[in-house]
């Protein structure tokens, strides 16, 4: 049974996940990060020991949560002598579980699908955690752990997690980038980005009730070419390329 946790890595996911774990009955024993300031940031936030010295990592925790950038997972876990009973998971959307096999026989993935920034609180009741494990026993252990962090636990294999993450990049990361571009346009005109918030809210709200296809509005879907041209004329080169491409895509054209 999982009772104690060590974090390997102290980025945005670890920062929020450690707090959620700390609010439950589990104990975070230690936070390790190569970067002293990151280790300290998470450690102090949840009032637990932290280190940037790999040799000091506690060896007999029940669960090690590796939450580093995807390319650094193997490196971060190398040269730690885990006790054979420990479970090791990573939290990445697009990394196959099997890269952990070299470190333990009980491995898994605990992927909380959300957009995590340090200075924005996250409600773990409103996200899903996608779980995968190398065997049934490990899955049960991870499930019993995760269900106390979030009420929404779903089983998903590595292949579908990659697809889910790819979809999430469109729905979240790219969407936020469009917000940035719209904020640029507003600023150029001396308008406040906040003026767009009711529209942004309703755009998001709509797809709770309609499919995105049904919800589509605007000049591109109406094929209002005169307006499209007016907008293009008012944009800088980068925004012009994006406006043109997304308008074509809305019109189901081949890009």
């Amino acid at each position: 049974m999982i009772k104690t946790v060590v974090f390997i890595g102290a980025g945005n996911v670890a920062y929020h996940l450690a707090q959620a774990i700390n609010r439950s009955d589990f104990e975070v024993l230690q936070v390790f990060s190569r970067t002293h300031l990151s280790a300290k940031g998470v450690g102090e936030k949840i009032n637990c020991p932290y280190t940037n010295n790999k040799n000091e990592i506690i060896k007999n925790a029940d669960l090690y949560i590796c939450s580093v950038s995807d390319d650094n997972i193997i490196d971060a876990l190398s040269d730690i002598n885990f006790t054979p009973n420990s479970i090791i998971v990573h939290t990445a959307g697009s990394v196959n579980m099997n890269i952990l096999n070299q470190f333990s026989e009980q491995v898994g993935v605990l992927y909380p699908m959300q957009t995590f920034s340090k200075n924005k609180e996250i409600d773990f009741n409103k996200l899903s955690i996608y779980l995968e494990a190398s065997n049934d026993e490990t899955y049960k252990e991870l499930y019993n752990f995760a269900i106390q962090i979030s009420p929404n636990i779903k089983q998903l294999n590595s292949e579908n997690r990659l697809k889910l993450h790819t979809a999430a990049v469109f729905a979240c990361n790219f969407t936020n980038h469009l917000y940035r571009l719209s904020a640029d346009i507003m600023q150029e005109s001396g308008l406040e980005f906040s003026e767009l918030l009711p529209l942004i809210d309703e755009t998001c709200n709509k797809v709770h009730y309609l499919s995105p296809s049904e919800a589509q509005t605007g000049p591109a879907i109406r094929r209002d070419e005169k307006i499209i041209q007016k907008h293009l004329n008012s944009l800088d080169e980068n925004k012009k390329v994006i406006y043109s491409l997304l308008s074509k895509s809305i019109q189901y054209e081949k890009l």
Copy 2:
């Protein structure tokens, strides 16, 4: 003082605006649309007369709201003998007010910035109406009218309204299109689009507290090139082009 309203055009904006007006103290006298079904749809919704015969348009209303696709505004208003006291407005984001000058001396724009679909209710308390008028007296009349439809009335000239609308296309229409692309990816994997809703909600929620630049997360801003490549490999041609372009744009590269 505006008391009576005639709608010229019965699209999505008219459909929702007519209902909002109908809930206030004003009287919608008539709905005209070239398309019988559209006129009927709005007319029956608010229980008022409707016609698709231009000759039958009531001539002495206080306010004519022209809400047709942008290219059709002039055509829709031509050959109607408005009485000289009538005010004529359009509801378009990107059409200059001055195209109405040929029809009356009291003209204006009443642009409710929102994404309107027939089968999704709209709360007019949660949007802003952007107003412009050809003279102060007309502005006052329109303001006193609009403030009973929505508590958020803002004055904006045609030039800035065009910029606002352009920004809105990015923040709403293009964002919704990204939802559609993410829905495609989910469907290909047998996953439900609704799984993405907590992420979509938080992405939208975040920019109430952080600027879009501060809120940006994901592989592109982390320059996680291996993950970007994995995602590109899993996408069809159109989505590959969009993924690649938006990732570069997030990284502030020239497109």
